[in-house]
Symmetry: C2
Subunit: 201 residues, 2 copies
């Protein structure tokens, strides 16, 4: 009975694989990512993941999808923690959440923005990514009082702000922003805010 229960019908194998997959991704990066290592960590056979995710890309897509959800949650969390509900301050807070997520899950962050947009394949992934994008669009809409989809200038603001926070986050997790390494997180956040304000004109 226990053996059967342990081996077969794990109960929530899909969720367990995603959790373990995230751990493996964080430890080895996407290049060292191994489907068999994920299966071994959960304690199932090497071929168990196939039934839930198809191939390796299927699991990575699921990880990216979950990543975008937590990504959005990180931005909203920083917004909620910001007492000033002004559109500008809220947008800056989103940027800090953007950076929070990139720092806490750099490998997942890189996976999410790895160049495979052309064919999202899974609708869930496309939807989760789109939701993150819309969060930024909404923030700019509140700041400008116009929808970026109708006002080209506002869409330029979206791309400027996104480029700024994304570039900062990507360079930071690449260890390229050396001057910041020996400084406390408050300085890092302050610098991102100062820099982000430039993108808002």
């Amino acid at each position: 009975m226990p053996k059967s229960k342990d081996n077969y019908h794990h109960g929530d194998l899909r969720a367990a694989l995603i959790k373990a997959g995230e751990a493996v991704l964080a430890e080895t990066g996407v290049t060292g990512f191994s489907l068999r290592a994920v299966a071994k960590r959960v304690g199932v056979s090497h071929s168990a993941p196939a039934h839930h995710f198809g191939d390796a890309k299927g699991l990575l897509d699921a990880l990216a999808t979950e990543g975008f959800r937590r990504f959005l949650a990180a931005m909203e969390a920083r917004q909620a923690a910001e007492p000033d509900k002004d559109a500008r301050q809220q947008l800056l807070a989103s940027g800090l959440g953007y950076l929070d997520f990139a720092i806490s899950s750099p490998a997942l962050f890189r996976l999410m923005f790895s160049t495979d947009k052309p064919e999202p394949k899974t609708l869930e992934l496309a939807a989760a990514a789109e939701a993150s994008f819309m969060h930024l669009v909404d923030g700019v809409a509140r700041l400008r009082g116009t929808s970026p989809f109708e006002a080209p200038a506002a869409m330029n603001d979206v791309m400027a702000i996104w480029s700024m926070v994304h570039g900062f986050a990507d360079l930071y997790i690449a260890g390229r922003l050396g001057p910041l390494d020996c400084k406390p997180p408050e300085d890092r956040d302050a610098l991102l805010k100062e820099i982000l304000e430039r993108a808002m004109v």
Copy 2:
């Protein structure tokens, strides 16, 4: 004789492997990158690359090194093509070169900024990356009239400008800047210029 000459002592196998490696990297990305595929493309045995590069990371490091050199060359090329030698216009031109390179070699660009800065291991790679960084620092120094290493405000400018152009390039090659897809390259360059000027205060 011909067989011997062909198989042994290729003459410039190292350069040939780098060239083929770049092609494989461009086609398959870093995840699908295979040392054996590179060897097969050149027409040597599967273990030939080991003598020149040690392991797979050795070849990737060499590719990244070569990438940083061409990266710097791309920025300088755009600067040379810019008739206005004003510090600001020259810095903007560098940004266009930055984007040129990312678009022409997205996989290589990603490899160069993949998070392995902590231990460059190969001095050549560290030197090539540093040279690119210094190019940006020099550009800002000319713009501000002060060395960013002495003036913290100027170093903030460096990080702001770098974040902006890097984020724009990274999002662009990820296919995330949808609104630009159906527009001509001139519009893309114009937008990057407009956005980069924000980073210069």
